[in-house]
């Protein structure tokens, strides 16, 4: 059984052991070293225990003295742990080095229960706003500036690296890099109340050229793309319904009057892979369902359900939003 609802965060091999970049790779090595260490130590303990319980008398006499405690309980762990500690600290320093000037920056702000994303220019100004999806170029280290607007969240994209908390009043940094184009799933890892379980995100890596194109398109104001599924009349109707229903109080669509800041920016919502913060596929149907019944789909989230829209209005809004590519 597969769905598109959790792109990049699915199935086998476990994402933690399937690194896709230089900030996850060394951790995978650490993990394997630790597994081997744990297996060996467990084997030794079980062996000693086995001898103690069932071994021949001669063996038991060797094990049954204070010498075992000195060697097995004290000397052995001290040696093993010292080695591990040095290795761990060195790896930690390598994986979590301070951000360097000139590295691309993305600010991700955790909100209940979605992610506000802003791309920063060299001076740290926000140039592009987006939500629940981070696009990065491959082969390039990206610095994530992690903040929170309300409670503590934690930003975790296991295939790209470890997690870092988003704490109100603080700004944390996380450096990630994807080596190959693709979609990498992530999820909020710190319990943040209510539908914490349904707070996902995706990181989409493009090769640098495609990324530049994506970013250029993203920086532009909203343009509705007319198609067979979204004829012009329907889009116009949808735009009118969107305005009349007051959606703009919470959502921004750049280039229109909608300039609300409470909810995700919808300027290019039609181009996203998911809806509802990484939980639904994104098409007119799910968009209509989400607008009409977001509380049923993601109980407790901050967007009210809009069951009052008529069928056609609902479809029009969905068509309009999906046309914003």
């Amino acid at each position: 059984m597969t769905t598109e609802t959790a792109p990049g965060l699915s199935g086998w091999p476990p994402p933690v052991l399937d690194p896709a970049g230089p900030f996850a790779g060394p951790i995978q090595v650490v993990a394997w070293v630790l597994f081997v260490m744990a297996a060996v130590v467990l084997a030794i303990v079980l062996l000693a225990l086995g001898v103690a319980l069932f071994g021949p008398r001669k063996w038991k006499r060797r094990v049954g003295g204070e010498r075992l405690v000195w060697i097995g309980g004290l000397a052995f762990p001290v040696v093993v742990l010292s080695g591990l500690l040095i290795y761990g600290l060195a790896t930690g320093a390598r994986v979590a080095a301070e951000p360097k000037p000139g590295e691309m920056r993305v600010r991700v702000t955790g909100e209940m229960w979605w992610w506000r994303v802003a791309y920063l220019d060299a001076d740290g100004r926000e140039v592009v706003q987006d939500a629940n999806e981070v696009h990065i170029p491959t082969g390039q280290t990206v610095v994530f500036e992690l903040e929170s607007a309300d409670v503590i969240h934690s930003f975790w994209v296991p295939r790209l690296g470890g997690k870092v908390d988003m704490i109100p009043g603080r700004r944390n940094f996380l450096r990630l890099q994807a080596d190959a184009p693709g979609t990498y799933g992530g999820q909020c890892a710190e319990y943040c109340g209510g539908p914490h379980a349904l707070m996902g995100l995706v990181v989409v890596a493009h090769d640098p050229r495609a990324y530049a194109a994506w970013r250029a398109r993203q920086a532009q104001a909203a343009t509705a793309v007319v198609s067979a599924q979204a004829p012009l009349a329907l889009i116009d109707q949808g735009r009118a319904v969107f305005a009349a229903s007051g959606c703009g109080a919470c959502h921004t669509i750049r280039g229109t009057e909608a300039n609300g800041l409470a909810g995700p920016d919808l300027t290019h919502v039609g181009s996203r892979q998911t809806l509802g913060a990484g939980i639904l596929p994104n098409n007119q149907g799910t968009m209509a369902g989400w607008i009409s019944d977001s509380q049923g789909i993601k109980p407790g989230n901050r967007m009210p359900s809009y069951p009052v829209l008529t069928g056609q209005d609902l479809r029009a809004v969905a068509a309009y939003l999906e046309s914003l590519k």
């Binding site: 597969t2 769905t3 596929p281 098409n283 007119q284 049923g296 789909i297 069928g311 056609q312």
Partner: protein
């Protein structure tokens, strides 16, 4: 959207008629694979609006529940529930009923067949 009153009335009639029509069921869908259909349903998120047996979440309340769909004589209360109509409806509902809330869905003809096959397997319960 909420079902209109005539819709409800029709729905009730359908319910009655359903009892009679059961003998005709199931309607076969040429080259439709119900198992693949369920996968497609999950991939495109039909359940965002419809409660569909076999899909645990979300249980959309925006549109009609689809339990027992196979026994209904009408689609959306006004179109004959025939395989080819259903397939077309799934791909582009507004073309059959301009007033419907159901938007066109990004399905290929084959995918729509699979979905239809799955929907016709849904019994009343």
């Amino acid at each position: 959207m909420r079902r209109s009153l005539p819709g409800l009335f029709a729905f009730a009639l359908v319910g009655l008629a359903g009892c009679v029509d059961k003998a005709d069921l199931p309607r076969p869908v040429a080259q439709g694979d119900p198992a693949r259909g369920l996968d497609v349903i999950r991939q495109v998120g039909c359940a965002a609006c419809h409660a569909i047996p076999g899909v645990a979440w979300p249980e959309g309340r925006s549109a009609g529940a689809l339990a027992g769909f196979g026994a209904r004589p009408l689609i959306a209360g006004r179109l004959p529930n025939q395989p080819d109509v259903l397939v077309r409806w799934l791909i582009d509902a507004p073309s059959l009923d301009a007033g419907t809330a159901m938007p066109p869905m990004p399905l290929t003809q084959a995918q729509a067949r699979d979905v239809a096959a799955y929907l016709y397997e849904l019994d009343d319960d």
